[in-house]
Symmetry: C2
Subunit: 724 residues, 2 copies
């Protein structure tokens, strides 16, 4: 029994997964197989054959006895064997029936290449709903529709279930792309870089199998060392966060989200028909769960090359070896921009280099072994950097000087690279049309040295490895939960507003455009969550106002309160720095005159707190996602300089702290030009309490604490609004 | 006679240029030719032969009768022919003698490949001086030393006077690079992009023939359509500005300056031995004279490909044609980031597209002809964009869908491209290892369509074309010269300071660390140049101060003045907002007590001007270049946010205006949150007057107007210092 259990455990990695029928099919039916060259139903069969698919291929065609010399069957029911996966390439109106057939035949997964569904409006949507119902009924998993398909380059399968034209060598990078066009050129780029690929998936309308599910599958796949993800947004961001967070802890996810400009988002909407508007949430998701985000797909592919062979550096200290001057200058600039540092070498290292390098070599960091330097000089420099405690990674410029044995140099680099002690990237400057240097390139390539053609490109790739180290070593910790809050109180206030209607699943139902809560409610909610607010009273008369002002202590602010009053300042509804009873009386008098049309007119009397640093904390609810929290300095910093930072709630202390340090005007919080610094702990406390409040109450659509006054000893909100 | 004159004029373009002997040599001697394979003296001969050099090759070697099957001569005097150009590849100590020999032989240019000169310290410097003296004596022009050499790919010459390993096809881009390593990989990159090259030069220590001279030569060369320049700074920036300015008006100069980070500058200094420190001046020179600046060498080469075949767009409106969705989204994002816009198409265009495109096509901008779209669909889309008045340039995504005739599509694109009406770039997504698509690529390539492998890359290249349009259409105008200034007055003040000693050439001689002028001198200088200053008096006693304050009008500021007092505020030497005589008396009393050790104590009484917007204008002198002018908002904007802009003086009105608009906090000048906007004309006036002052008086090493108070109606400096 013991030995059996043990075997069972060992086999765990190969245990069947629901998506195995998609990515590791033992047999594939092509429903809509065609003898017409260049048609999708023909190209897919051609690709499967060309790629040496290891399973069985069953073309399905009513009339043809064989297609591309492979026996064809009139229907799937005529296939004498079990079918794991079916491609569907028939007009959309026939698809619901075919899915039912697939279900009856026991097919586990289908790839619907056909278009004509949700991307084509209501009629298509109805068809999609119809086949999905059948799929659910029979337990068939759907990939697509309106999609390319999948590829598994594992030689065990060689499953090229796609109509594209790039035939990758087996490798360790897996790709998942919302757009087939982008997925295809990323695959092509890995091919051009000669780094191979593991699996590929582009799922079009993604009506069933989602990007999240594919990412999970790649995460569990031992052969996948890194994942490349392209998207224009997520249909179900929460699901993605949940699964990708786990995967990102195991292996690097390199991602690009496009549609970052308004025009780009518009272009995205026009081709997917489902997403619109610039969403910053996707970037914030990437940041929160530790995904490496790129805004340039070429850089992403170049980085993937480094990830496919190199270890992750343990820190940001880089040593440079070069055999030419200028490219080292360019590389240095870029490495520094990526946050790396060039430490000076130890005395011992300098001594060794002096003994081993040519007299004209430049000893330091960079180490310039000069163009006449050969393998022994590269080797010595590499050994020195490998032994230097404070060096975490190595950047090499290697120009194939005609007067050196470049093969020998390449072998020296490979020997050190093989030890996998520290990551190495190489800017290899050569003429690949010359056989002599093709040989050198092959040595580097076979030795797993990532080679680039430009110093900046190589430096950026090393920068990405380092960035992943930073991501991995950033433990954001757990969401801060304050026990000293009065949740029931807030529930009661919100219930009182009468517009918080929940459906039976606990989700907030649509409540029109929402409404701003009265100030008294707002301040009570803040108080219930321990958010300090300048002392306040709501009053109706001048006498009450005077009494309130005396209780609170002068100076005070008075703000008019009435349903019709939205922009108080513009309407003459705010009077600040009222120092005595006369001023309060005068202010109330003026407001009563100006705002006499509001029959529900009341006044908020509040402590006036001048002299602090103005801050702002804002909240915006997101569909299908936790609210975004914004932080920044108030006044011109937010209004003119837009110097604010967003994060996805719920926040941890580390994240709240990062908000303070990541705004450009961060130093102002430390105090400058005679103004004292603010009490950062109390600012962080407010941010975290707001985060908890809006996560406890998803009914809150918008919330602003603006301004918050931050002082040396405390931080107090002096104005706030909440929209439900 | 007439016809002869006319012929003379027609021959102007081919008239002899001093550098023709370098770039168009009819005969080349290799002094230090070697029969040793892989030695520089052998590789250069090999390269000349391999590249089919059209002139005569004379290896010079004391012992060998022939080298690489070419007759060798013991000395240059034994060569029976005239020699245009000599390579020198012998130990540095023999070089001065050889240069004399070259002079005697009548050789016009030499390329000194040998190292061991100024880059190697004093001894090498002495050798360099020695051979330069000989060169001057005999009128020999020197290229190098310690350099690669030149290449002229014009088939008339095929002069490969270099030891590198890339053999370019003839093209229209010429390269000049401070670093041979960088020059070589740029040349290789153009080779890999298959766009050919015109001329190449990398001049190492550049002791005689400078980058400026080479740029001038390229400027006059009709075959050069665009110039690529790499540098780490300029030895003689004024010379460069003068010549490059003229060239940049004729043809695009694409430039990259490295050593932008401190560490990069250090690396640059270590390999050139001549430059150090981060200079921002080079970038400002590029900006001022209209050079396209890059911080990524790969992007620069990719842009060069577009410049080599495409016209410059007349505006920023781009039309996109795509046959795949996602890549159009990525391209849109990047095009927008580059400042391009996607206009909506005219009703007529939409109508035409509806009639000509497939039903599933997406009609708009981008135009998605979909993957099944063929040549007629691309052609119709291209025609529509060519005819659209408001479209200035065209971006194409072309994925080689297996089910289309991609050659036909390519031919359709080429047909439109051949008209050269609007620039076109193409992101061509294909598998170049497949013969079928190689053919398609060749059609595009031969048709002069710049093709890229990534949407972002293609978009950036189009962005560069547009950026050059912007540069070309930006007429900065002439330097503003104010007539209402009193130059003699400033001369007198500076003469009075006694530290402005000029050498016989009119250059300012070193005067130690310089010194700050007394406030009275500073304010008089400003007044002489019409720069408004808050009314002021210098006084010695309390009585005088009171009299001055009454004259000026309260409130006033009082600042202590004494040689030993540098940081007035820190030493209690500043009192602001003094509203009456008592406050003035008290302030003076306090300062006298605190600063009693200064026997030369005086007081500056100045009008206090609160409530304006604080600005700062600064000046920093540059070695061998006009001073830099800095502008920004004062206070935290300069101190914390570093939101300042630099420009190279002398300034034009347009440039001064650009300074106001290019700071991030620019909007604050328009007035926000109740504060009124400033009078921009008066701010520009001050900037321009400062520019004129510091250009009239290069003795001024530093100058700060900080703060300047800007109001709705006027702008007045309230504190200033000048260092001579």
């Amino acid at each position: 029994m013991n030995s059996q259990t043990s075997t069972g455990t060992m086999l765990d990695n190969t245990k069947a997964h629901e998506l195995d029928s998609l990515f590791k099919p033992r047999s594939i039916a092509i429903i809509g197989a065609s003898s017409k060259e260049l048609s999708i139903g023909n190209v897919i069969i051609k690709n499967l054959v060309h790629y040496n698919y290891t399973g069985k291929i069953y073309p399905i065609n009513l009339k043809e006895p064989e297609i591309r010399n492979i026996k064809a069957y009139p229907t799937i029911f005529d296939v004498p064997d079990e079918i794991d996966l079916a491609h569907i390439i028939i007009p959309s109106k026939f698809v619901p029936q075919i899915i039912e057939d697939c279900g009856k035949k026991g097919i586990k997964s289908v790839i619907i290449n056909s278009a004509g569904f949700s991307e084509m409006g209501e009629e298509g949507m109805a068809l999609q709903d119809a086949f999905l119902a059948k799929a659910k009924e029979y337990g068939v998993r759907i990939f697509g529709p309106n999609c390319q398909g999948i590829i598994n380059a594992d030689p065990q399968f060689n499953a090229y279930c796609d109509f594209t034209f790039t035939f990758p060598k087996p490798g360790s990078i897996s790709i998942v792309a919302l757009s087939g066009g982008v997925g295809a050129f990323i695959m092509q780029s890995l091919f051009d870089l000669d780094i191979g690929m593991r699996m590929y998936a582009s799922n079009g309308n993604a009506c069933d199998i989602s990007i999240s599910e594919v990412v999970t599958y790649y995460g569990e796949d031992e052969g996948t060392k890194a994942i490349i993800l392209y998207t224009e947004g997520f249909r179900n961001p929460r699901e993605f966060m949940d699964v990708a967070q786990k995967v990102a802890k195991q292996k690097p996810i390199l991602a690009m989200k496009s549609g970052r400009t308004e025009e780009g988002a518009k272009a995205a909407a026009s081709h997917t028909g489902s997403l619109a508007g610039v969403d910053i949430a996707t970037e914030l998701i990437f940041e929160k769960i530790g995904i490496l985000s790129f805004d340039n797909e070429e850089e992403m592919c170049q980085a993937a090359m480094a990830f496919s062979t190199q270890p992750i550096p343990r820190g940001n200290k880089v040593g440079i070896i070069t055999n030419t001057g200028g490219p080292a200058v360019i590389a240095t600039d870029e490495l520094i921009r990526c946050g790396l540092q060039l430490p000076t070498l130890s005395a011992r290292a300098i001594q060794t280099l002096k003994e081993t390098q040519l007299p004209e070599a430049s000893i330091g960091n960079p180490i310039d072994v000069v163009a006449t330097g050969g393998a022994i000089h590269f080797k010595s420099a590499l050994d020195v950097l490998m032994d230097e405690e404070q060096i975490d990674c190595i950047y090499i410029n290697f120009v194939t000087a005609p007067f050196t044995d470049t093969d020998e140099v390449a072998r020296a680099i490979v020997a050190v690279n093989n030890m996998k002690r520290k990551p190495i990237v190489c800017n290899f400057m050569t003429n690949m049309s010359m056989e002599r240097y093709q040989a050198t390139a092959k040595i580097l390539k076979d030795g797993g040295v990532p080679c680039y053609s430009f110093p900046t490109t190589a430096a950026k790739a090393l920068g990405s490895l380092y960035k992943f180290h930073k991501i991995q070593s950033r433990n954001i910790g757990e969401t801060k939960i304050f026990p000293d809050i009065d949740r029931a109180k807030v529930e009661e206030i919100i219930a009182r507003t009468g517009i918080n209607k929940h459906d039976t699943n606990g989700n907030l139902s649509s409540s029109g455009d929402g409404a701003f809560l009265p100030s008294a409610d707002v301040y009570e909610i803040l108080a219930a969550y321990g958010i300090a607010v300048a002392d306040w009273r709501i009053v109706s008369t001048t006498d009450e106002a005077l009494k309130a002002a005396v209780e609170i202590g002068f100076p005070v602010v008075i703000k008019a309160e009435a349903k019709a009053i939205v922009h108080k300042s513009d309407m003459g509804g705010v009077a600040i720095n009222l120092k005595n009873e006369e001023e309060v009386t005068a202010a109330i008098g003026k407001m009563k005159l100006k705002l006499s049309s509001s029959t529900d007119l009341q006044f908020l009397v509040q402590k006036f707190l001048p002299g602090g640093r103005e801050l702002i904390v804002g909240v915006a609810a997101q569909p299908d996602l936790e609210p975004l929290i914004m932080f920044g300095l108030g006044g011109v910093f937010v209004e003119v300089l837009k110097d604010v930072v967003f994060k996805l709630s719920p926040l941890t202390e580390l994240e709240a702290n990062e908000m303070l340090t990541s705004i450009k005007s961060s130093k102002l919080l430390d105090g400058v030009r005679g103004q004292k610094g603010v009490n950062k702990a109390s600012v962080i406390d407010i941010i975290l309490r707001v985060s908890q409040l809006v996560n406890d109450f998803p009914q809150i659509q918008e919330m602003d604490l603006n301004p918050i006054m931050a002082f040396e000893d405390r931080t107090i909100a002096v104005d706030a609004r909440i929209k439900i």
